[in-house]
Symmetry: D2
Subunit: 136 residues, 4 copies
């Protein structure tokens, strides 16, 4: 997949501050990928034979998708950076991704889409955690 996350960071015309660009780019990419995985996993769960068993998984997937999408957008902006706001959003994203990873992992042996989605959530949670440690 051709993303331009790094190209956009490199061509930002003002000062990016002392943010760790690698950690920032990785977190944006994982948020974007995780949002898509969660949206697809909610839909895949819905088409399983017994979606009632997966209702909590579907709900958590939808929450995680919404939070990851918002977080990717916030992290893609650098103008008028506010560390306090960014930190709160990435913290919420970390919580959403961990919660969704745990829920999907409960179904990972039965449903391959939950396994892929849980892995995407774990990668995103790791990227959020790494970014939180490096935020100014």
């Amino acid at each position: 997949m051709t993303t331009v996350v790094k190209e956009m960071l490199e061509t930002y015309p003002a000062d990016l501050g002392d943010v760790d660009r690698e950690a920032l780019a990785r977190c944006i990419e994982e948020c974007v990928a995780c949002a898509q995985a969660c949206t697809a996993c909610a839909d895949a769960c819905l088409s399983e034979e017994n979606p009632a068993e997966l209702s909590k998984c579907i709900r958590t997937n939808m929450d995680c998708a919404d939070v990851c999408t918002a977080t990717a957008s916030v992290l893609s902006r650098h103008t008028g950076y506010d560390a306090h706001l960014t930190r709160a959003v990435v913290q919420a994203c970390l919580t959403a991704c961990r919660t969704c990873a745990e829920e999907c992992e409960r179904h990972a042996e039965t449903h391959e889409h939950c396994r892929h989605c849980a892995e995407s959530c774990r990668r995103c949670a790791d990227a959020c955690e790494a970014l939180l440690l490096r935020l100014g």
Copy 2:
């Protein structure tokens, strides 16, 4: 404006738990209204004579809109409720709304749209705070 926030809460077919329905409905309504106000305020700032002076305001408006939209969606779901996830999201929304209210208030005397937007952000921040005190 005819919203069905309360009708949807009242017709939810399962147990809502011991959530304060008034506080929940109010927070959803304020998040939805605040997201719209912030999107419109970012655009209004962009059409002012000197948008460069308002670049931080525009950016914060966009962040606040994204976080409020995600929060309204999370709060509109009750299936498989997870207090920890909800709390993290509402906390991020409270931070975004306060940050955006402060920024818009700096321009409220010069730009009426910033005044209206700041008021909407304050109402949403209050609703988030009230809900956080009542979450199970």
Copy 3:
């Protein structure tokens, strides 16, 4: 519910063109309300005894919520207005709202949340149709 849709329109600092402000404000308000109703209806369907019967309804609700949210944002911006883009987005929203109204109406007698949601979708479809007739 206190929305500031009209206040934001009235305080937009540049020329709004010859758009019908009543039709525009109503369409924004209905999009915002419909997105929330659809998100809540998808979740309510998910908590019914047999969500498998409602899988198409849940899916259509989620699509309609996403399209209404995007449409509300596009309509809340006036800077650099492009009639062609606006028209395509409102047309997609009209299609999404009609499709979702039809699907929810199939369950309106059994599930009150589907009845409320269908009404919200119909109001939004009407507002989109009225706006399309008045777009420059």
Copy 4:
């Protein structure tokens, strides 16, 4: 970037119909990448010396980001597929991407972020067009 778009498509538990999976996967990936590029480009434009000159570009970027995000979500769902709704959404996305590509191309020589963003919009428009030809 590790996306799981294809893995999620391959593990969808029900019938995907006779959709062209390659075209579908590509369109989802381009929508997701384009939404991020447009959000970052709007912010980069905002930090240029004279954002007033770029106000139409910023606005179009924001519209395109919103429409691409909604389209990626709609295309990531397969349950209860409705060709009419999907077609309307992808058509709106095609219009948004072309409009944004044209606008960004006007600034591509002066602003590298606009060049990268225009390329992302063109790739997404191409993917939308290819998918529209293959939709059932």
